[in-house]
């Protein structure tokens, strides 16, 4: 079966024919190629990887480790030792906070977090600083979601050990200049964690050229199954870090009173791993690579520009963030005067259009923006112009449906 790189590759749109799916920042739909790959793993290759000394287990191990190599190439890492499989970006961030954090952060240190971060890139640091007596500081953006090099420089002190920021914010959709920020951080002796959950599915990410120390991502936001994701970490850092979870598959030898731990990356992968998910992630990477980021970005930018310009024409609709469609990367967060975001989402739902409403797991940002909640449409390359037209059509009638004159 060859891919068409349109909705027809995605079985969910067969099952749910009238669906307009515009909640891609939350999770993406899965192409048949990914679903078939996961099924093939369980039908033909399933055994406990990294353990058995028989043919099937060797096959499972190969599938799993080939997926790791695919992720390494996809992210431009030097070695597969730098790629740790986790459940998702959230688990990856917790791994960093528990393992690197508890070994390196002490009272008096500072961790700087961008105010627009998702709760998953905030709570692990909030807990870590509370436990260690370190201080959690926030880097604030302007009202369009922009962080500048100057504001970062001003916020760093000689006690700042870590700076955490998403490459693309899940609320603003703005692409942050990670390379510039990484250089500033390193000149200050500060490490940088980059949350790639919203960027890795949509733009080519190369950890070497970005110069980041850690980068995390979720497979399910990039066509892969739920429950598989990853962490990139510089080898020198990962080597010095203690394990995160303890158990099987992550040990070298265990005695009554101690243990030595497996080599990277297995040190961080306790318990039976998600080989089926990794196979699906591998298929997702192949699918994305075959389509290419040039084409993905061309389609997504075109649809973003169309939605943006149509939304701007509708009175009482306010787009959060930059006033330029190019700064939104498929994410358009908005409010409608006088209509609560949950009512907005319900009206879209009645037309089979899926959007998100709420605080998008970024409550401190919404407090900063002084809006309790917002609505968000987020698209992917498999959306089409008709999806956008249907979205805009409903948005135009929304206030009238809520009893306003226009």
């Amino acid at each position: 079966m060859s891919n068409s790189f349109t909705k027809s590759d995605f079985p969910v749109f067969d099952a749910y024919k009238s669906l307009v799916y515009l909640d891609n920042s939350a999770t993406q739909q899965k192409p048949a190629a990914v679903l078939e790959r996961v099924e093939k793993y369980y039908r033909e290759e399933n055994a406990n990887p990294l353990r058995g000394l028989y043919d099937l287990s060797v096959k499972a191990t190969e599938t799993y480790e080939n997926a790791r190599e695919a992720v390494r190439r996809f992210l431009g890492a030097e070695s597969t030792k730098e790629i740790v499989f986790t459940r998702n970006a959230t688990e990856s961030l917790n791994l960093i906070a528990y393992s690197w954090g508890r070994a390196n952060i002490k009272a008096g240190d500072e961790i700087l977090v961008a105010i627009s971060e998702h709760h998953s890139d905030l709570l692990p640091w909030q807990i870590l600083t509370k436990e260690t007596g370190a201080e959690l500081k926030y880097l604030e953006c302007d009202e369009t979601g922009r962080y500048t090099a100057d504001s970062l420089k001003a916020a760093l002190t000689d006690r700042t050990k870590l700076f955490c920021i998403a490459q693309i914010s899940n609320v603003f959709g703005r692409l942050n200049p990670i390379k510039v920020f990484a250089d500033i951080c390193h000149a200050n002796g500060t490490l940088i964690v980059c949350d790639g959950a919203q960027s890795v599915p949509h733009t080519a990410v190369d950890v070497k050229s970005l110069g980041v120390d850690f980068l995390v991502f979720s497979g399910h936001k990039m066509l892969a199954p739920m429950g598989i994701g990853g962490l990139y970490g510089r080898k020198e850092l990962l080597e010095k870090m203690p394990p995160f979870l303890y158990g099987g598959e992550m040990i070298d030898t265990v005695t009554r009173c101690g243990a030595t731990y497996a080599e990277l990356p297995h040190k961080f992968e306790a318990g039976t791993v998600n080989a089926g998910g990794a196979a699906g992630l591998h298929a997702a990477i192949d699918y994305i690579t075959e389509l290419g980021f040039d084409e993905i970005e061309r389609r997504e930018n075109e649809l973003t520009a169309l939605a943006f310009s149509e939304m701007k024409k509708i009175p009482h609709v306010n787009i959060i963030g930059a006033d330029d469609a190019d700064d939104h990367h498929g994410i358009l967060t908005f409010t409608v005067d006088g209509v609560h975001p949950h009512d907005i989402a319900a009206i879209f739902d009645a037309e089979n259009i899926a959007i998100r409403a709420g605080h998008h797991c970024a409550q401190p940002l919404h407090q900063f923006l002084q809006t309790p909640s917002t609505a968000r449409m987020s698209l992917a390359f498999y959306n089409d112009e008709e999806d956008i037209q249907r979205f805009i059509g409903v948005l135009r009638t929304l206030r009238r449906k809520m009893g306003y004159d226009g």
């Binding site: 609560h340 009645a350 709420g358 605080h359 449906k401 009893g403």
Partner: protein, 144 residues
């Protein structure tokens, strides 16, 4: 779900609530929050000689939470706390999809929220005012 579940009764109570204001004469008040939605209201009741003589709410939330609280107050003002609890029971039955025709009649305008029974994501919004009233009556109101 039908296209027009935001009927006139609901949008009207949302846009032009009768009871959304401060109530300096209140004898008891309680805050109700739906943390996942951000709905946040304060319910005020003035209970005198075993009668809810006045009531109001303040705060913010979606149309369903706001209209539901407004309609609830319209029903319970002038009634005893016991009667208010009875309406609350009926309303919960309606949202649970278990109400009879006669009981629905009793709920008057609150019947406009019947369709919320088919919208699991919005049940909490519809119940917010009612739950808040229940807690309030269990506390100070119930002591009267």
């Amino acid at each position: 779900m039908t296209d027009n579940f935001y009927g006139e009764v609901l949008t009207d109570h949302n846009l032009h609530p009768l009871h959304k204001h401060d109530l300096p004469t209140a004898t008891c008040c309680h805050e109700g929050i739906n943390s996942t939605c951000g709905d946040d209201i304060v319910l005020n009741l003035e209970i005198k000689d075993g009668i809810i003589v006045n009531g109001s709410f303040t705060g913010s939330g979606c149309a369903i939470s706001q209209a539901s609280a407004d309609i609830m107050l319209e029903l319970v003002i002038g009634r005893t706390p016991e009667e208010a609890r009875h309406y609350k029971e009926l309303f919960f039955k309606m949202i649970g999809g278990e109400i009879t025709e006669d009981e629905l009649e009793e709920l008057e305008e609150a019947g406009a929220l019947q369709n919320v029974a088919k919208m699991p994501a919005r049940v909490k919004c519809a119940l917010l005012g009612w739950r808040t009233m229940e807690t309030l009556l269990d506390g100070e109101g119930g002591a009267q």
